[in-house]
């Protein structure tokens, strides 16, 4: 199962497994663009006749995209800013024939109004095609409509936000985060300004991956992604948890003492498998019978118990 989960992300990025809509979510400290580029990298060698990549750009100028991608034959660039959605759909339709395999990438969905999202996305999800789009997460302005004029009062709405809709629509969700938590010291808090952590936007990052199969079953996993080596490394759940919780935990211990205070994976597993005595009691299962909250004393061989002595029974 783990082996299967470990390979499924690579297969989706190489478009060997079908996922019509892949959503990449990123954070202010870690961009998802490297994962986006990985989709292009894994498919750029395919012949333009059989496969086409369409780059829909809302935030990256054409020259910057060309600088990022390098020489790629099968990529078509479309500058989408200020373009009507219908015009974007027409342009995409003109670039990809109906039965041609294709990859459509969108560098930012943040400029789309939440009310217009479904009508924008739906025509871009096509047969034989995979749509990969980035959503930038902001710290607090999660529902802010960037097309809204300054000062206009936004009516409070119970309509789902852009992000909620995307999480519902996407067949694969990849959430990108830095490999090590940013170490924010007191100086930075005192600074009263937002500071990009040193080491942010690295080429190596953590990916939380959720893939929804047609059957309804979801496959989840955590990966470490190295863009320089174009590698996805599957992290088993416990390792992923410890990486996310205290990415620098082992590093903090290193150098403090000459003793080895770290634990190996084998030692950690052995420790986790130790059955602690109080756990059985908490479940109320002692001697095969449920005893509720009563105190139960189990006599052992060495106990000298006299049934006739009224002071013998402590209970």
């Amino acid at each position: 199962m783990q082996q299967h989960t470990g390979s499924i992300l690579s297969r989706i990025v190489a478009l060997k497994d079908v996922s019509p809509f892949v959503l990449l979510q990123d954070a202010p400290e870690q961009t998802a663009k490297y994962v986006l580029l990985e989709f292009v990298h894994r498919n750029k060698e395919r012949s333009p006749a059989e496969f086409r990549i369409v780059y829909l750009s809302f935030e990256t100028p054409e020259r910057a995209v060309k600088g990022m991608l390098g020489p790629v034959r099968n990529v078509e660039f479309v500058a989408c800013r200020r373009m009507a959605h219908a015009a974007i759909h027409q342009k995409v339709a003109s670039l990809i024939s109906s039965n041609q395999k294709s990859l459509i990438v969108i560098d930012s969905l943040n400029s789309i109004r939440s009310g217009a999202l479904a009508s924008f996305i739906a025509p871009l999800i096509r047969p034989h095609s995979t749509l990969v789009a980035v959503l930038h997460n902001f710290p607090t302005a999660t529902r802010y409509d960037m097309t809204k004029p300054t000062g206009s009062t936004q009516k409070s709405s119970y309509a789902p936000s852009l992000k909620t809709q995307l999480l519902y629509l996407a067949t694969t969700i990849i959430t990108v985060s830095p490999t090590a938590r940013a170490d924010i010291d007191e100086d930075e808090i005192a600074a009263g300004t937002y500071l990009v952590p040193l080491g942010a936007h690295a080429r190596t990052c953590l990916l939380e991956f959720v893939h929804r199969r047609k059957s309804g079953r979801a496959v989840e996993g955590t990966f470490e992604f190295d863009f320089a080596r174009h590698e996805f490394t599957y992290l088993p759940p416990r390792r992923a948890q410890s990486k996310a919780d205290d990415g620098q935990g082992e590093a903090l211990i290193d150098g403090l003492t000459t003793f080895n205070l770290g634990t190996t994976e084998k030692q950690r597993l052995a420790r986790e498998n130790v059955e602690l005595p109080y756990l059985a009691a908490q479940e109320g299962e002692v001697l095969g019978a449920s005893v509720g909250g009563a105190i139960v004393y189990q006599f052992e061989k060495e106990d000298d118990y006299d049934e006739e002595d009224p002071y013998e029974d402590p209970f």
């Binding site: 990123d26 961009t31 935030e59 910057a64 930038h136 710290p139 009263g192």
Partner: protein, 303 residues
């Protein structure tokens, strides 16, 4: 061919990077973002970038020192810069005379550069933020004033003005914008249109340098204005190749340190097969008496 950035270069033996020409890397219209806290002013850093592009009146590039350069590369160790590019300077928080004086103190005669068509000053303050009286006839003036009533034509006006710049170099101009958040504060455009305006400028520019307020007092809040500022700020972070964050000294006042500058990567990747071009770090800087030549950037703990 236009300017591509090589941020591994150091500036005058200190730690401020300066964009360097490396035509083999292609023309990638990068965005360098400068964020500043409320107590600090980024104008000295904007001027640094302008000077790195235009050089000073003597014709030598500012701040180049033979022993300070990184090895190899297009500019080469010990050599003068191989390129010059025009500068387009747009400020929404200062008038033209402020920068004319500031540049003059450092030996850069802006009026002369304007006449030579290698410097274009666009005034986004005098007619937009407050209606200042026109400068005296004897004083030089900016070539273009931005006015709210014709905001839809700004990019065309800028493109026309840029077309009139000197053609002695094949590099695209460096576009420097100070205080882009004012467009949101003044209600000129919604955040998305401001970002589109930035993209338009990036199309015109080789390298764009944009300053924005990064103060928590501006970004954090439940008001629509704060939310918009936050959306603008983080959208720009996502588009930037490098981020220069300036803040005041955390421990208070010091005679020989003005503040702290942190250099980090932005959300725009360096691309497939390219090594990351940002040397990250955090340094102290000192700005002496408003004289740009007195700016020093140094390791913490040194002076």
């Amino acid at each position: 061919m236009s300017i591509s950035s090589d941020l591994l270069r150091v500036f005058d033996g200190k730690y401020l990077p300066v964009p360097a020409a490396s035509p083999d890397q292609g023309d990638d219209s990068q965005l360098l973002l400068i964020t500043a806290s409320l107590e600090t002013n980024a104008s000295w850093l904007l001027q640094h970038f302008a000077r790195s592009c235009i050089g000073n009146s003597t014709g030598r590039s500012i701040g180049r020192r033979a022993d300070s350069l990184g090895g190899g590369g297009e500019t080469g160790a010990g050599g003068d810069r191989h390129w010059r590019a025009p500068v387009v300077f747009l400020s929404f928080v200062q008038e033209f005379q402020f920068y004319a004086r500031s540049f003059k103190k450092t030996g850069v005669d802006v009026s002369s550069l304007i006449q030579k068509k290698s410097f274009l000053y666009i005034d986004g303050f005098s007619k937009l933020v407050c209606d200042l009286p026109p400068a005296a006839a004897s004083e030089s003036r900016p070539e273009l004033y931005l006015r709210a009533e014709n905001k839809d034509k700004w990019i065309q006006q800028i493109a026309n003005a840029v077309a009139g710049l000197s053609k002695t170099t094949s590099y695209r101009p460096m576009v420097i914008v100070e205080g882009i958040e004012m467009l949101h504060v003044l209600g000129i455009w919604p955040v998305q249109e401001i970002l589109d305006f930035v993209s338009d400028l990036q199309e015109i520019a080789g390298i764009s340098v944009i300053s924005v307020s990064g103060s928590n007092a501006v970004l954090r809040g439940a008001t629509s204005l704060s939310q918009g500022q936050e959306a603008l700020f983080f959208s720009l972070l996502n588009r930037a190749s490098a981020v220069f964050s300036i803040r005041s000294l955390d421990s208070g006042y010091a005679k020989d340190v003005t503040g702290v500058i942190r250099i980090t990567k932005g959300g725009q990747p360096s691309g497939d097969g390219k090594a990351p071009s940002i040397d990250e770090g955090e340094y102290h800087y000192f700005v002496g008496e408003g004289n740009l030549s007195g700016v020093r950037v140094f390791e913490k703990g040194h002076s």
